[in-house]
């Protein structure tokens, strides 16, 4: 991550703007569409964030309203939905991370140890597949398989006594987080394992031989050869996941939301959507959204700093 930046430290020459422009004008034209896009569609909304500090006035547009300071933030902090939305977002993100993070690693180690190339390819092709299923279809499949009366999975779980006869996996507040997390693992564990499989494939075969000469069995080879080899990848991905701790999948949460599970399924992003867009409280919605982004950003920077200190690995 760091070498790339160091490598470009070219010697400073005297800067001649006219000459540089004449030399590079084609490059400027090629980057123009991308730069315009980022400026308008990414930095434009950031400019619009002032909405969070203003009273929105339909007649005056985004920037026209009167300054309201931190009123809307205060309103969110005082709102009865402040703690529930924070708690729900954290709970979903936390369990997604804790339960979801180790699965791709275990899967990658298992796939990497398959000797038959054909079976290996088959397993890989299969486990990557759910990643390409759209969220709408995923939630529809969940509704079909978990339906209280006819669902294959819910009936099977009832038959083996894992859930009660009256359990409703789609409506019970208690089952929202497990269903969300497990279906998330189902959808993305395979895809997330690719990066670890790649890291494992790069391990020098001599390391395994050396481990064997030292008397290591397969378990010890995993522990002493394979895990250290993928540790940098694990740390990088952990940092990135930490940064997204408050960005729980909006689409999936919204689609899985029902009247009965709203108490646990209303996360910050769905709250912004419901209150900001559906009820047209634009300033309030912006403030809640900005709060979310800032918390996320702080988490990312913190995680990045910690790993920089601890392992000398960082994103930026």
């Amino acid at each position: 991550m760091k070498q790339a930046n160091a490598a470009v430290a070219a010697p400073k020459k005297k800067f001649n703007l006219g000459k540089v422009l004449r030399r590079d004008w084609q490059l400027w034209i090629m980057i123009l569409p991308a730069a315009l896009y980022i400026l308008i569609f990414c930095y434009g909304p950031m400019y619009g964030l002032q909405l969070a500090f203003k009273d929105y006035d339909f007649s005056k547009g985004i920037t026209g309203g009167d300054w309201a300071g931190f009123t809307y933030f205060q309103k969110y902090f005082d709102s009865p939905l402040f703690w529930p939305t924070i708690r729900n977002t954290f709970t979903i993100a936390f369990f997604s991370l804790i339960c979801g993070f180790p699965v791709p690693i275990i899967l990658a180690i298992a796939i990497n140890s398959i000797k038959s190339q054909r079976w290996k390819r088959t397993v890989q092709t299969t486990v990557y597949l759910p990643y390409f299923i759209s969220t709408v279809v995923l939630v529809a499949i969940l509704q079909i398989l978990l339906s209280t009366t006819t669902g294959l999975v819910s009936n099977a779980l009832k038959a083996i006594g894992l859930i009660g006869e009256k359990a409703n996996l789609l409506g019970d507040p208690g089952s929202f987080v497990p269903v969300y997390v497990i279906s998330g693992i189902w959808q993305s564990a395979g895809w997330n394992s690719i990066i670890f499989i790649a890291a494992l494939a790069a391990v020098d075969g001599q390391l395994y031989d050396a481990a064997k000469v030292d008397g290591a069995n397969r378990w010890q080879q995993v522990w002493h050869v394979e895990l250290p080899a993928i540790l940098p990848t694990i740390i990088i991905l952990l940092i990135m996941n930490m940064g997204g701790i408050l960005s729980v999948g909006f689409e999936k949460t919204l689609l899985m939301q029902t009247a009965t599970n709203q108490g646990v399924s209303e996360v910050i992003s769905t709250y912004v959507y419901n209150i900001g867009l559906k009820s047209s409280q634009f300033s309030f919605g912006s403030a809640v959204g900005l709060f979310n982004t800032v918390v996320n950003f702080v988490f990312l920077v913190l995680a990045n700093q910690i790993s920089k200190r601890a392992a000398n690995i960082s994103l930026m």
């Binding site: 490059l27 950031m46 619009g48 985004i62 486990v127 759209s134 969220t135 709408v136 398989l145 294959l152």
Partner: protein, 310 residues
Amino acid sequence: MATANPTVKNTIRTHNGPDILFKIVVSFICIFAFVIVLYPVYFIIIASFSNSTMVNQGQVILYPKGISLYGYEQIFKKSEIWVGYKNTILYSFFGTALNLAVTLPAAYVLSRRTFPARKIIMKLFVFTMYFNGGMIPTYMLIKDVGLLDSPLVMIIYGALNVYNLIITRTFFETSIPDELYEAATLDGCSHFRYFGTIVLPLSKAVIAVIMLYYLVGHWNDFFNALLYINTDAYQPLQIVLRNILLLNQAMAGTTGVTGGGGGGAGAYAQQYADQIKFGVIIVSTLPVLCVYPFIQKYFEKGVMIGAVKG
């Protein structure tokens, strides 16, 4: 990799017990993952061809029973699905074309080490991956630039994905030797020409990767349509799917066909609505599932190129 070198095989200790256990555990994990991923998909496929009463009674488990194409027949009659299909194809096609037209030249520029603004532009781009205006200010912006409820928003918004840009740039930097550029400029080759005649033909792999990333993104896009499109005629497939699959509007167009009123007709219609759902899932996901096995190796490649730089 895991097989021992034959010459040292006799000198090292064997661990039959733990090694066999390892093999069993690993095989179990792979088989488990294989079955648990494939079965739901397989179930939807066989259920879509089966008699829905038998599906609901849990009789359809391993193979289709009471073959019925009713669901598919109804789907072919439902115009909103085909409007959605058409819209999604248009959005995906033009959207992806725009994505490539924006991403590839920009990635080329950012891969040129002599380009003075390269570092600062890269930083400004990457910053947007971690910090953004959020839902409401973005909505306001889309409204202000006149894209609200216009099909163009589905094509223009998202024209550049910074992650894909980084993948492409990394590929250009690592896979195309600088000597090529030096040789080309000595012969008087401009950036435009070098990019068009040398860089692009050498980058088919990465173009395939990001094209497919963008394409799947457009195909599965639900969020943007939900926020920015109101007119039914512009709705993409995923919104139509949501209406049919999750908001249970499957019966809307079919009750008139299946029942002439009466109490029994409701349950009857619901049963067929279920079958339509299975069919709709298949019809909408089929393009992705059909193409996927052939392009899977490119996707993998993309993840690996992307992994080089976070």
